[in-house]
Amino acid sequence: MPSHARDSIARVTRAAEAEAALCRAFAPRIRAYGLRHLGNAADADDLVQIVLSLLLDKVRTGAVDDPARLPSFVLGVCRNTVSDWRRTNTRRRNILERAAPTMQLLAQLDADAQPEPLARDRLADCLQTISQRQRTIVMLTYYAQRDGADIATELGMTPGNVRVTRHRALAALRDCVKGGAS
């Protein structure tokens, strides 16, 4: 193979690996932002595709002056995108169509990633280890989708007490799930 062809392949391979690394780094953050602000997994996944597509466009066109500013750029795109969506859905559908190649890249990353073993089973086991009151608060928060004030009324607690108990429950769950993973 001619050396210039080998060099081209090497450059393209390094670029593809770099893009994959960017997606791996930012996809979870974008999804977390989406879940927090949009409230459902489907919308959060759409946000991931759209924001990563815009990010990769910027990288590919050489528009990234300072890689250290990428995190704030990505966060800014997340905020603007969510703000746009709250005004109209039309723009979102058009952008999703343009983000189709990014969807393929993300699908490949998911296929290549090590699957988290028994994640849901582990969380179910860990839920059984926290106190009944903590478990009830977690179920009211995430399954029944009640806010802290409603939970306080439901359980005859103060809102401050609910907040502290809930934070402790989440910390215990995190430690238990992490302990199982290690």
Binding site: L35, Q132, M139, Y142, A144, L155, H167, A171
Partner: protein, 184 residues
């Protein structure tokens, strides 16, 4: 890394806009905080999935009982008065067995629940069971898997009420006459 409690506050919508934006800026820079934020925001879908699959036992409140009903989960429901025993049996597809215990909760600040085997030994207990003073009731959701695993037996639930003055009284003993799957 910022304190986990602050990340909890962000994920749960407890922070001011300014505080939330500051946390988000940090999460996009810090790998460890990003992992914590991912864990916290993924809890919603995961806990909902676990609840719908009937994978965890929990003390019910009226809001949870209403949500289970609205979610149309396959459940068996029982309502028992003090001193009574009701028949119960698992089905192959039920997610939960929901039991409502009617009690006099006058002057009660805390309820202790003990679940007893036929010989009186304690199978499980809940030291601070949620209760509904307006409905005068305590609820329990047992997983379908746990109920299906039981042989034919009588289970008793003993409730004890405690007041802030340090007094306590038995609120009632409630019986579930359980028939195991296949009559075993």
């Amino acid at each position: 890394m910022i304190p986990f409690e602050q990340l909890c506050g962000w994920a749960l919508g407890e922070l001011s806009t300014e505080e939330a934006e500051s946390v988000e800026e940090h999460v996009f820079e810090c790998d460890e905080c990003a992992r914590a934020a991912t864990f916290l925001t993924e809890l919603g879908p995961r806990v909902t999935g676990i609840a719908r699959a009937g994978r965890v036992r929990f003390a019910l409140t009226r809001a949870l009982a209403e949500h289970i009903a609205a979610d149309q989960l396959p459940v068996r429901q029982y309502e028992i008065n003090p001193g009574d025993t009701v028949p119960c049996q698992a089905t192959s597809d039920q997610a939960y067995a929901i039991t409502r215990l009617n009690v006099d909760l006058a002057d009660v600040d805390r309820v202790h629940m003990a679940i007893l085997a036929p010989d009186g030994s304690v199978i499980d207990e809940i030291d601070d069971a949620p209760f509904d003073a307006q409905e005068q009731a305590v609820w329990l959701a047992e997983t379908g898997d746990a109920v299906r695993a039981l042989p034919t037996m009588v289970i008793r639930i003993r409730l004890t009420g405690h007041s802030h003055r340090g007094t306590s009284r038995e609120l009632g003993v409630f019986g579930l006459s359980h028939t195991g799957l296949g009559g075993r």
